[in-house]
């Protein structure tokens, strides 16, 4: 154990820095608002706090419901040793999703509103309820670890007694909201790129969550065995990896069928950044790990198993980010790349997850007794090439993702400029523009100016003033904003008329233009405006 000390301190240092930076980001987010902390905008309202913290967080916690169902419903008892760590991972995952949501919501203190303010037509409403209920389910599934610690026998009996209904509820709720996260995007057919948009998004989200959730269980077991000196349940993980193969295969088949049905293969003909990202996701995140894990040699090899599972998880993350960020970029009005504060918050949440897991392992009975690592499980022959194969694929994926992010960033930025040239933005403030508009359609003849306004004389006034729109508006280039943009309200003409006497001469009123330069000055020519007498 001692030889791990330097490593532990290194990671503790990393964690401390991450938490400190995250705390600063938290202060900025809640002190100065979303605009100051994020790169979100009207043109791109959802960023990585939705794409990663919620979509990825929920998906990677999917191991929770699959493993509990396997053990409690299908009675496959031999998977029991990994139930507790998996439930713990899922529980922490969902808590962090909730915390992440508090950052993303504009009014986080109203997060409870869906409880009493219902809209059953909203996918978000359904997701909110499912996630909330499933977090409750997970806390029940997690509670025995705490109850045992404090030797609370009666509540423990109650929780054990309701295990089956709780597990069934967990499976149903998970099925619903894992798929519903995909349903969220069904309403943006024009914004989400055709390589990802599909009526089957809920199915894809569900299947990929199962594959990634189980892969996450494998990864979490490896990390735990390394960090806490636990024995690796290699046999179990191998069996899980076979389920991953089936889930990935199913995903691939449905995906291909769906794409051919929608004629989406045509989208792969053009060399777009989307095509690139899609192919990386499918080849490195689905196809290669599926093939690798289907090979007994890879499953038997520790590195092979770990790297393949990692490929699945990374591919999954890429898929969720593609659906939520890069895939919608083309349909949005603004280019998005997360701010460092957004990244800092996400990093902090991930770190909090690791720390909480470590604390739970330290103080609760997460792992079964007597499963300390004695020695690495030695396997007579070590199929090395296989390990290199999977690691190579992993490295390639990493490089390609980094490259892809860059490409897409530039591409998107370039594309973002096009509409700006096409469309003369702005409100047509320059007069030539207004004239041009009139000449195109020749409709100035239709101009129907408001009638004359008479301002009653003030105390020492030489007479009432009658304002005529006709003599003030250039019929060829009418611009109401000249006066109504500032000095004179447009809706309250009568209220304006009550402005009495010389106040009307002010720079905020008639004097704004009648200053002797733009038009004759208010002090120059009384009869020009005031009717005699």
């Amino acid at each position: 154990m001692r030889r791990f000390w330097p490593e532990v301190t290194f990671w503790r240092g990393v964690a401390a820095v991450t938490l400190a930076v995250g705390l600063y980001a938290t202060v900025v987010r809640f002190g100065r608002g979303l605009g100051a902390a994020t790169h979100l905008s009207d043109g791109f309202p959802w960023g990585i706090w939705v794409g990663f913290d919620v979509l990825v967080g929920v998906g990677l916690a999917a191991g929770g419901f699959t493993i509990t169902a396997t053990v409690h419903l299908f009675n496959l008892e031999r998977f029991r040793p990994i139930v507790r760590p998996t439930v713990l991972t899922a529980f922490l995952g969902y808590l962090l999703v909730a915390v992440g949501l508090l950052y993303d919501l504009g009014r986080p203190y109203r997060i409870w509103h869906p409880l009493i303010m219902w809209n059953p037509h909203s996918v978000m409403f359904e997701v909110a309820w499912c996630v909330m209920l499933y977090t409750a389910v997970l806390s029940l599934e997690f509670s025995p670890m705490v109850l045992e610690r404090f030797k609370l026998r009666t509540p423990l009996r109650v929780v054990h007694g309701i295990t089956i209904p709780v597990v069934i509820a967990g499976v149903l709720l998970s099925t619903l909201h894992q798929s519903s996260l995909g349903t969220l995007y069904l309403i943006v057919p024009e914004k989400l790129h055709g390589l990802w948009y599909s009526p089957l998004l809920p199915v894809f989200f569900f299947l990929s969550a199962i594959a990634a959730g189980l892969s996450m269980v494998i990864i979490e077991s490896f990390i735990s065995s390394r960090a806490f000196g636990r024995r690796l349940e290699l046999g179990l993980l191998r069996d899980l990896s076979r389920v991953v193969v089936v889930a990935l295969g199913l995903y691939l088949v449905v995906k291909l069928q769906d794409m051919s049905g929608r004629g989406a293969f045509g989208l792969l003909a053009a060399p777009t950044p989307e095509r690139f990202l899609f192919l990386v996701e499918m080849v490195f995140g689905v196809l290669i790990p599926m093939v690798l894990l289907a090979l007994p040699a890879v499953r038997r090899d520790r590195a092979g198993l770990f790297c393949s599972a990692l490929l699945v998880v990374l591919g999954f993350i890429m898929n969720r980010l593609n659906v939520s960020l890069t895939g919608v970029q083309g349909g949005m009005d603004a280019v998005y790349f997360p701010s460092w504060l957004e990244l800092a918050v996400t990093a902090m949440l991930v770190t909090l997850g690791f720390i909480s897991f470590g604390l739970a392992v330290k103080h609760l009975k997460v792992f079964p007794e007597g499963h300390q690592e004695e020695r690495p499980v030695s396997l007579g022959r070590r199929p090395r090439p296989v390990a290199y194969l999977s690691r190579g694929a992993l490295a390639a994926l990493g490089a390609v993702i980094a490259l892809g992010a860059l490409t897409l960033d530039f591409e998107a930025a370039a594309r973002g400029r096009v509409p700006a040239q096409e469309v003369t933005a702005g409100s047509g403030s320059d007069l030539s523009v207004l004239g041009g508009g009139a000449s195109v359609n020749g409709s100035v003849a239709d101009l129907r100016l408001p009638g004359d306004l008479t301002y009653p004389p003030g105390k020492d006034s030489p007479g009432a003033v009658t304002f005529s729109h006709e003599s003030h508006v250039d019929g060829k280039r009418p611009n109401c904003a000249t006066c109504h943009g500032g000095a004179f309200p447009i809706l309250k003409a009568k209220a304006a008329a009550r402005t009495a006497g010389e106040a009307m001469h002010g720079a905020q009123r008639c004097g704004a233009c009648h200053d002797g330069k733009a038009a004759f000055g208010v002090e120059d020519n009384c009869e020009g405006c005031h009717a005699g007498g």
Binding site: D42, F74, P114, H121, V444, L447, C480
Partner: protein
């Protein structure tokens, strides 16, 4: 009566009376506007030689209202799509879902709201008036009225001046129909209007899935319970048999499961 606005882009002279009337009645800052924002709910943009007034389309079956988890946005029977800021949690799904890119957010505020045109619902319509923007338009380019009547009016104009208009009433069918209708002399795709939108209301896309939830819960619940019931019973019987026949031959331990 379902109210609507018909904006005839061939008549718009770009004076921006509507923009300032809107800002005035809604107490929005009177600044030069670069497109729609939380502080500008209607705007006149220069596109393809026309002055294009943009605002919320007030869809007949709005995506924004259907996606809102707390029903902060809803379509009133009279026509306007309105916003109750006291309910809003700030998830911004409405902004993501709107096919017309209309709802905007107060990003710079610590406690932001979603903002968009609300058809002067509270301030004007309730009292039998018309929206500020249509009232002040000096060219009658944007007019208020009953939706069916305005559609008739639009059809009449296209028939009477076929050379002046493209033969399309934007908003008649887009996204299942909207309460804001447009006529133009230039094809709408050149004006930056989203074309190729579904003719069906957008909420149907998600409702088709959501409406299946009761089935999933019911059938899934029974299936799960059934599996547990059968498997458990079998295991129990096996255990009993094993006890009767003496020491078990050992359960498959699963280690080295591969071959």
């Amino acid at each position: 009566m379902a109210v609507a606005i018909l904006t005839d882009l061939t008549r718009c002279i770009g004076c921006r009376a509507c923009v300032y009337a809107c800002k005035e009645i809604n107490g929005l800052p009177k600044e030069e506007a670069e497109g729609l924002s939380a502080r500008t709910w209607t705007v006149v943009e220069r596109r393809a030689g026309l002055n294009v007034r943009r605002q919320c389309m007030h869809c007949l079956d709005p995506a924004c209202a259907s996606v809102c988890p707390v029903a902060a946005l809803h379509k009133t029977p009279a026509g306007p799509v309105v916003y109750e800021e006291d309910r809003c949690i700030g998830c911004r799904y409405c902004m993501v879902a709107c096919p017309f890119h209309v709802p905007k957010y107060e990003w710079e505020k610590p406690l932001p709201r979603v903002q968009k045109c609300i058809f002067c619902s509270e301030k004007r319509l309730r009292e039998g008036g018309q929206p500020a923007c249509t009232e002040v338009c000096p060219a009658k380019a944007t007019v208020f009225g009953d939706r069916d009547a305005l559609i008739q009016e639009a059809r009449g104009r296209i028939e009477a001046h076929p050379g002046r208009y493209v033969d399309h009433i934007y908003g008649l069918e887009e996204a299942g129909g909207t309460s804001v209708l447009y006529l133009s002399g230039v094809p709408f795709e050149r004006l930056g209007f989203p074309t190729g939108l579904d003719r069906e209301p957008y909420p149907r896309l998600t409702w088709e899935i959501l409406s299946k939830i009761p089935n999933v819960v019911g059938m899934g619940g029974v299936l799960m319970f059934g599996i547990w019931w059968i498997v458990n019973r079998r295991m129990e019987l096996e255990r009993r048999d094993a006890l009767r026949e003496g020491p078990a031959k050992g359960v498959d331990d699963g280690e080295e499961g591969d071959r």
